[in-house]
Homo-oligomer: 453 residues x 2
Amino acid sequence: MNKSFDNDTITAIATPSGVGAISVIRVSGAKAIEIVDEIFTGKNNLKDSVSHTIHYGKIKDSSNNLIDDVLVSIFKAPHSYTGEDSVEISTHGSPFITKKIIEILIEKKVRIAEPGEFTKRAYLNNRLDLTQAEAVLDIINSRTEASLLGARNQLDGLLSSKVQELRQMLLDSASFIELELDFAEEDVELIKSPELIKRIESIIFEINKLTNTYNFGRVIRDGVNVALVGKPNVGKSSLLNYILKESRAIVSPIPGTTRDVIREEVSIDGILFRFFDTAGIRLSEDEIEKEGVLRSRNVIKNADVILLIEDIFQNGSNELFKEITSFSKPEKILKVINKIDLGRNFSKQGDIFISALTGEGVEFLFVKLKEITTDTSIYTERSAVVSNIRHYDCLKKAKENLEGSLKSINNNLSGEFIALDIRDAVLSLGEIIGEVTSEDLLNNIFSKFCIGK
Amino acid sequence: MNKSFDNDTITAIATPSGVGAISVIRVSGAKAIEIVDEIFTGKNNLKDSVSHTIHYGKIKDSSNNLIDDVLVSIFKAPHSYTGEDSVEISTHGSPFITKKIIEILIEKKVRIAEPGEFTKRAYLNNRLDLTQAEAVLDIINSRTEASLLGARNQLDGLLSSKVQELRQMLLDSASFIELELDFAEEDVELIKSPELIKRIESIIFEINKLTNTYNFGRVIRDGVNVALVGKPNVGKSSLLNYILKESRAIVSPIPGTTRDVIREEVSIDGILFRFFDTAGIRLSEDEIEKEGVLRSRNVIKNADVILLIEDIFQNGSNELFKEITSFSKPEKILKVINKIDLGRNFSKQGDIFISALTGEGVEFLFVKLKEITTDTSIYTERSAVVSNIRHYDCLKKAKENLEGSLKSINNNLSGEFIALDIRDAVLSLGEIIGEVTSEDLLNNIFSKFCIGK
């Protein structure tokens, strides 16, 4: 797809909705400054002001009614977020006022921005590549240290530059093959080139290193789902309460999430853990309460870790284990023995012994939780991490293309075939950073943004 | 009270809470720029930058972890909202990020601002007087054209300058009396001075003009409460539905208001009307459902207008009228006859005949509603209007003081007494604009503000 877009001047409220001290309205596009000048009365003419300056004045409607006194910030192309001429109008934080000003702008042929359209324009104007644009959304949604850091690294281009580097290596290889094909009559020699095989293998190795970060990247971006499973009275709720009480970082829920499904969110060492208590929900299918069974199964299926809890007195988690493993992977399960404050029962076997009453063993539980969900060894502060399934899928596709090219070499296929596979891998990598895109892909990505970003 | 305050540098999130494209953090105080410089890395040093400029850069925490890339706006004293050095930090709109940055600022000995503290400082630094500071809150809370215009006029100083003018006239009179007292041995002559009486009377006249605007000012600021009362099936709900359907300006409710008490809010010609449907609630005390009776009575007591609805067939609103007038003023009641689409019943008497089905007569109902609640004759676009009960009470006090002084003159009391009454009136007027205040009064006013304003 060629990078192209309309020349509309767009606007949106950029601050969260509701009443506050101030609200900010963004305007971007070739005519942004000119149009705001028409509704703004201040000491200076905005058009003649330099970029990155702030101007106090009044916004009036077409009947010359004063709407608000505002601060207007001027950003001149290309030194703005979008890369276009942009204006930010800082108003008193009344939804009534912002609505009025947006209406006045619409009268002046400014259009309401689509969700993410400011960032999309930043991408189209080469201010950001696609992974960086996606990182902007991740930054806004970040709710823990780790998710913020991951998104920051992505915005700073750590993933982009790695992908760019691999893509360039492949482009060079493909060009080299194609060049040779132009000149050589017989290309068998070239294709068997151990040099080429080695290069492709090393690129596959690098891609594997990236895809191996995905499980961790996903976890730091989206959090870890933990299902608490166990018979009544083994202490599921007590454990959850202990964790909540101990944690100084209870994460505030995203507005709009249904409270009755998501239970409690806690940040443990900067990583978001989302605990689901399946208390009161039976697992077996022959129960009358079918919906409870389904819901419980869904929670367990979507869990990254399942804490299978029993206490030192009760048995019966073996049945539960069997049931769970009928639809979930056994390696996800951590068996937790609770109530060790009431004595040790040495016939009991489990991964972790805890007391939800005294907190003994809970720290170790946290260590285990992090171990099972995150491979911290691959994570250093400033490394490229894949956290987005779109990137992961593109990398997998590139890898498949490259493995195809190796097969072609081994099968003595013509150089054209090999070059084609490598070109496909280049396209897959290009799709990650947005060198190659489709309108659908862009719409899909930016529709997830809020309006005003 | 002397205007005095601490020298703390204060901070708060100025944008509404929640996720959005951007959030803005305000910092104000003598050290604001210096402190933000310590956590900000950009091309320019903020300290050396001129006022009203915007700087792109990064905020880092004390461990040098990057928190966000931000735009920092610099306002140098006295050219800022507070009159102090101020900074606005525009971040990605994540509550997690703003919380982090606030934490970093607190480490640097910046203090979280009290509600309204930025505006309070603007007042203490003589950027605004007290009525103007109060107008800022009214602007933020404004939800209709009329309420915004009223608050704007107040912020622009229309009320202040009127009060200031009256206060100055009184000050001159008091000084004149005191001067005469110093020189004259016998002051009887002076006190009877028809000139002085005329002057005081003219000031009382002006104060009356102001207090007469209060009913209207209150209505445009706070809206009109309308209670719908009537027997079952006379069409209370139908009327409400018709009004909502016809109105293009349904006003969004303030978050936090209990939905089951407030029914529907509509802006009619820029004025907020709040309709309470008392359907299903009986009025008479001997009913079992006591709470319903109480609630219904409260709605009616707090109403500015009571629409007493009957239809062309049913009778019985006379009893209701009697009941209502036992605890409410009859002049608040508008008798509405509904269902005129089903024929006219000429034995029926009412103020307004309507059809909630066809809408006939509803426009006239609107005219009547506005008539009964607002005296538009006193309202011209740029006039001083009293909308705040604090201002109203101070004006009433000033008027009482002046009437006292007139009485003293008539009773031939000593000039000292007269001057004292006039001085008291000066104080009452000074309290409106904040020339005279107490810590309690200021706390009371600014605690109603949101944090960040």
